[in-house]
């Protein structure tokens, strides 16, 4: 992470080692916390976090972005990186997430089950199938043999969440962690079929990482106890 060190303008007289972590946007809260904790333990470490949609991360790394660690929100995107030879070794699965139904706190459409999302007159929003959460939504639909006609196919979970939180939509399929992180803006309605689409998060070292040691350190923190505790507290499941 040579080029960026200078631009970051670190004031410390000790030459810090900078670890650059590329992570799915849904990991923002947890990874930020882990990085802060880790920096306390290792004052010589400077951890830079780059959050974007998983697909953006893939594109950026393929284009030669200087990253040490990459964490994606699903295996499919990580596979693209391994196939491309951008990942050192085998990526590790470190967390999972399952879908839940998000409804506004007042639950105006009285949603109690997945089938309610397909009721006529219910304004449901889903992720588009092209994005990870949309692929997961499609799986649960199939498992429940339902055809949900959404009013919108959003491009990311946060867009689904936004539509539900604002009351624009009556319900949407999001991740459990999203509901937990929403500070009460939406309520979760769990449903049995969610087990058919467990989304697994993967993390790996980027090939040719400028700071492989630092990367390994962060990676082991994520997969280690402290990291797992942070993830669990945010509502992530075991991998």
């Amino acid at each position: 992470a040579s080029g960026q060190g200078a631009a970051a303008g670190s004031a410390s007289p000790v030459a810090k080692k900078t670890v650059i972590v590329f992570a799915a946007a849904s990991l923002k809260a947890t990874f930020t916390q882990m990085a802060d904790d880790l920096k306390k333990q290792h004052p010589e470490l400077d951890i830079k976090l780059n959050f974007a949609g998983s697909q953006d991360l893939v594109a950026q790394i393929k284009a030669g972005a200087p990253a040490d660690v990459v964490a994606t929100a699903d295996l499919a995107t990580m596979d693209k990186l391994t196939a491309n030879g951008s990942v050192d070794g085998t990526p590790q699965h470190f967390a999972s997430n399952t879908l839940t139904i998000a409804v506004p706190p007042s639950n105006p459409a009285n949603i109690g089950s997945l089938a309610d999302l397909a009721k006529p007159g219910t304004r449901t929003v889903l992720c588009a199938v092209q994005v990870p959460c949309g692929a997961a939504s499609q799986k649960v639909e199939k498992a429940a043999s339902l055809t949900i006609k959404p009013v919108s196919e959003e491009l990311s979970v946060s867009d689904v969440l936004g539509k539900v939180a604002s009351g624009e939509a009556d319900a949407g399929l999001v991740y459990k962690t999203d509901v937990q992180g929403s500070k009460g803006k939406v309520k979760g309605v769990d449903f049995p079929q969610s087990s058919s689409a467990v989304n697994t998060y993967a993390i790996g070292l980027v090939k040719g990482a400028p700071d492989a040691d630092g990367g390994r350190l962060f990676l082991s923190d994520v997969t280690g106890d402290s990291g797992q505790a942070v993830l669990a507290a945010a509502g992530f499941g075991k991998p």
């Binding site: 588009a128 092209q130 867009d159």
Partner: protein
């Protein structure tokens, strides 16, 4: 000067060229003639057209007031008009949601009246118009301000009412600025992504414009996305090129000097 100008042009063209080089040309035609892509393009053109119309209807009077009227707070007003420019489109979409959404400031009463805006093509139009209005206003205002006010005074001494003067003198003289403002607004509408996504959502045939489609395609197939992007670019070049026709040619003015 010319050298720097060419450097500037290169700065714009090289990235687009690099994109074009990525495109798998063998698959280009099937890709861009794919019904989903064509539907998205159609929707984009339709909504951008409507939004531009909204911009013209709201923006031209705004520009006229800014360029001609004298009143306190005019400077503030001009700054306010620029706001959508600086608000990231996603935030703009949120703001529209707060205003016109089902529980929004205006959306709630409208909802009570049975008018639903979000998730509809109307929402797309509103999102595009919101984001593009400043471009139109600024262009038109610029062109109105540099138009000699003397011509309007002459028209008045010839008995033309302010309305007649506006239609028969001011507007024709400001035509170049009006046209380029319209093109600017239309182009901005065509490319609008963030606000549309946030406010209008993304449903094929209703709210999925070409930029949203490109984003989706990119999730699975970045190179195809590049091809679609080039399609958008081509459409834009055509529209812009047509609008900058010979009638925009600056007149050869004056005589000896």
């Amino acid at each position: 000067m010319l050298g720097v100008a060419l450097l500037g042009l290169a700065f714009i063209l090289v990235p687009l060229l690099a994109t074009a080089l990525r495109v798998d040309w063998a698959h280009f035609v099937p890709l861009v003639t794919d019904p989903a892509a064509l539907e998205a393009l159609g929707l984009s053109l339709r909504t951008a057209g409507l939004s531009t119309l909204v911009c013209l209807l709201l923006g031209v009077p705004l520009a006229a007031v800014l360029s001609r009227a004298e009143f306190p707070g005019k400077r503030l007003m001009r700054s306010l008009v620029l706001l959508p420019l600086v608000v990231p489109p996603v935030v703009g979409g949120l703001a529209l949601l707060y205003a016109f959404g089902r529980f929004g400031l205006l959306g709630a009463p409208l909802h009570a009246l049975g008018v639903e805006i979000s998730f509809s093509t109307t929402a797309v139009v509103l999102a595009q118009a919101f984001v593009s209005l400043p471009y139109l206003v600024l262009s038109v205002e610029g062109s109105l301000s540099t138009t000699e006010a003397g011509y309007e005074r002459v028209a008045a001494t010839l008995g033309a009412s302010p309305a007649a003067t506006w239609w028969r003198v001011t507007l024709p003289l400001a035509l170049p600025g009006l046209l380029s403002g319209t093109v600017l607004a239309f182009a901005r509408c065509l490319g609008e992504f963030g606000a549309t996504l946030t406010f209008a959502g993304n449903l094929e045939g209703v709210t999925r414009t070409l930029p949203l489609d490109i984003y989706l395609v990119r999730e699975t197939d970045p190179d195809s996305a590049a091809a679609l992007a080039l399609l958008l670019v081509a459409v834009a070049v055509l529209v812009v090129g047509a609008a900058h026709g010979p009638w925009l040619k600056p007149r050869i003015r004056g005589n000896a000097v």
